[in-house]
Amino acid sequence: MSTSTKSKDVARPVPNPKRSLITRLHMGTGVVVGVILAAIVYYLLKKSLLTYTDGAADPLSPHDNNILLLGTMFTWSIGFMIGIGALIGPWRWLVGKDLTDEEILYMAGDGQGVKRYFKYCTDHKVVGIQYLVGVMTLLGVGGTMAMMIRTSLARPGAHFVTPTVYNSLVGLHGITMIIAMIIVATGPFGNYIMPIMIGAYDMAFPRLNALSWWVLFTAIPVLCSAWFLGGIPTGWTAYAPLSIQAGPGMNAFIATIIIFAVSTAVAGMNITTTVVAMRTKGMKWNRVPIFVIGSTISVALAIPAFPTFMVSMIMTGLDRTYNTGFFDANMGGSGWLYANLFWIMGHPEVYVILIPGVAALMEIAPVFVRKPLFSYNAAIMGFAGIAGLSILVWAHHMYIAGWAPSLNGAFMVTTEMISIPTGLLFLVLIGTLWRGKPWMKLPMLSIFAFIWDFLIGGITGIYLSDVPADGYLHGSMFVTAHFHFTLMGAALTGAIGGLAYWYPKMTGRMLNERAGYISFWFVQIGFNVLFFGMFMAGAEGQPRRVLDYAALYKNSNLISTIGAYSVGIGMIILLWAVIHSARHGKVAPMNPWGAKTLEWTVPYPVPLTNFDELPIITSDPYGYGKGK
């Protein structure tokens, strides 16, 4: 099975790719077509909606305004995809043809330098870098919002922002970070590194790979527009009926989620298929690097989970536009229906975020400890166990919702059981550390931070999942602190470790070590101070998502804010290091860490098809150690 990026000698005459439409399209034409189409649809919709209501210059009703905005946003997304050339291939199929080999080679970005990053480029390495930049942008935006939230909460009294702005900050910080964290490891590393790791020329569906990134890209301006449409008042959970009552900014949230769900579905299918079908000769399932296993389990878990979020958003959108009443109790609908749909996505989703981060660290550990990964099978059982159980635990977010209290016991059982596969993940890491001398480099440091952070996140999770304790803690700052320990302390730490580890392969240069260390300590110490304060505030009884608080909570909030600034400083240093080292860092050797996985056998820049000849695998990549 050769892939589309392999050029073949074809006898028939082909048109000069220089004159093909595909060569003229890029991000710029995408934006132009997207904006023009969106403007046309906006104009037409507005015209027709005004006629439809009661004519003349009447302002639109909220429902009509929602129709107008949603229609415009989706048109922008589709228009951009047309303008960047995503539909050229499908169009050719429609008329019974396909792209020519030259065009396929052109779309792979062959010999186009920096330009290919702004094109509909099918090379998985280009897509990986695009995702990396996208993730860093989203983390930057979400992080800035977090700093504003913490600044606002530094003292009681709500002096910094208005209630509308505060609620918008909370909701947009939440959804921005959730989106960023879902793609933080599987986006950059899953696209750039993973196909090389399994010995493939490219992903299984290179054009879908480009599609997944650029569709996601169209969601970013839509998400940002929420800010200019009055923000969202609902938090990232977007509970109905608050979301139905909400102003025009909510439309941006709905459109973002629907667009994002399309992107993740495409990316998830692509990654899963690639790993199942395109591993090189000899790479049996028990020889696949653990990062690949983890990422695959993660995206495979996302495939069934995210559509429910999409569906719940479509239903919210219909409630807001055509008054369908799915989630409106006054019309026979149910807010609990929304909560269920949301959390059926929401709980698997946190493990979609967590697993690739842990898997990246498991990939790193053997290299720096110079020992085999301890109990590869336990690692897989851990991931698979978490993924399996995670679809059965959603209603632990609804213990106190009043919905089916008699089910609380059952959901408590499934939730507590997750501590067993989670325990296996710890065992694998500490087993690998045992009796080794860790090589203290940036990626290794992340492993230690992960162990501490995830332990705190895990232990606090144990009592949050016990119904009586949740009766007190639910909806408090304690919950916020808990999930930041798991999502940020564990998953983001894992992803940053992965970045430090794979940076030499993705940029050809070493990440500035000194800046990396400084950043690491600022972030980790700040992080622990920040969420220690938040555990304290939560235990004291401060609800989450509050703009203002009583004097009782002023110490804990001040501690949190001080910690937050430390995290902010550390993240800025890391950002500087990542940008600076990409141009000025020390040139990296082909295999700077002495690792045994395949991505370190290819040079930088990685050739278009990764390998001249696909390697043959005879063992797993963890053959370190004396006396094997």
């Binding site: 209630p163 509308t164 609620n167 008042p233 509970y239 009926p241 608050l242 006054n330 807010g335 720096f368 400890v369 110079r370 020992k371 085999p372 301890f374 109990s375 099978n377 336990a378 106190i400 009043g402 609380n408 016991g409 408590m412 507590e416 067993i420 325990g423 296996l424 065992l427 500490i430 087993g431 550390l433 045992w434 009796r435 001398k437 860790p438 090589w439 230690f448 162990i451 501490w452 332990l455 232990i459 144990i462 009592y463 016990d466 119904v467 009586p468 304790a469 009766g471 007190y472 803690l473 639910h474 909806g475 408090s476 989450r544 998502r545 509050v546 203002d548 608080y549 370190y624 004396k626």
Partner: protein, 266 residues
């Protein structure tokens, strides 16, 4: 799987006792053991000291139960956290610096008994947590059923951004939540608009307020004092300010308050 700690096995097979002595005589094992006790002690102290210090006054059995779970689950998990952190710290202290990787460590691929013990151990731990939770949930449900006859009912309505309390038997409606001590209380909670979550903080219970459906929680205040009522579900612009105060008072004070509000005592 071969037990790789046996590289230095002598000619005579050592007895299990000798092997254990040998194992604990190793430098890294000694250090890990010390670290284990230190980390465990730290977590025990964290659980025993911080939560009671932070949490508000305990004014019901439910609140007591929440606090016990937070304290004792921390204490129970302390040895596990201690072990994980001891091994991590021990490894951290053995770090290798420099630009070249250290030499390879022992090729330990896995260790069947350790994986088995670890898995069974975490299963037992999970079962303890589950059993504890289920027993608590059950005892609260039993108490709710047996107290139902003697309970007073408070109808709680959340609206953006105000709590309203209606005492049907007493015929009063207020915005402060006053309750007699020692008398079981049933909260019938609903919402006039979006979702809210009714949270009388010191009573340690919570339930969402929904439109068109009534949700119920039950508790018995055990101590006289001030209670704060908050909203624990984001409900729009002034969510943060959707709070009110109240008190648990002696039955005679409660009756006096009811009469002063224009109500009637049972």
């Amino acid at each position: 799987m071969a037990n790789s700690s046996d590289h230095n096995a002598e000619v005579l097979t050592p007895t299990p006792g000798e092997r254990l002595t040998h194992f604990f005589a190793r430098r890294d094992v000694k250090r890990t053991t010390v670290l284990f006790f230190l980390w465990t002690a730290l977590f025990v102290v964290l659980g025993l000291v911080f939560y009671p210090k932070w949490m508000p006054e305990i004014m019901s059995k439910e609140m007591k139960s929440a606090e016990s779970i937070m304290i004792w689950f921390t204490v129970i998990s302390a040895p596990i956290a201690g072990l994980v952190l001891a091994i991590a710290t021990n490894s951290f202290m053995d770090m290798h610096r420099g630009d070249n990787p250290p030499e390879d460590g022992p090729a330990i691929r896995t260790h069947g008994p350790i994986v088995a013990v670890w898995t069974v151990g975490s299963l037992v731990f999970a079962l303890v947590a589950i059993a504890w939770g289920l027993i608590e949930v059950n005892s609260q449900a039993v108490a709710a059923a047996s107290d139902a006859k003697s309970a007073i009912t408070v109808e709680v309505t959340g609206s953006q951004w105000l709590w309203t309390f209606n005492y049907p038997a007493q015929g009063i409606e207020t915005h402060e939540l006053n309750l007699p001590v020692g008398v079981p209380v049933i909260f019938d909670v609903k919402s006039a608009d979006v979702n809210h979550s009714f949270w009388p903080v010191q009573l340690g219970v919570k339930v969402d307020a929904n439109a068109q459906v009534t949700t119920v929680i039950h508790t018995t205040p055990t101590k006289v004092g001030v209670i704060e009522v908050k909203c624990a579900e984001l409900c729009g612009l002034y969510h943060a300010y959707m709070e009110t105060n109240g008190a648990v008072m002696s039955p005679s004070d409660f009756n006096a308050w009811v009469l002063a509000q224009g109500g009637h005592t049972a």
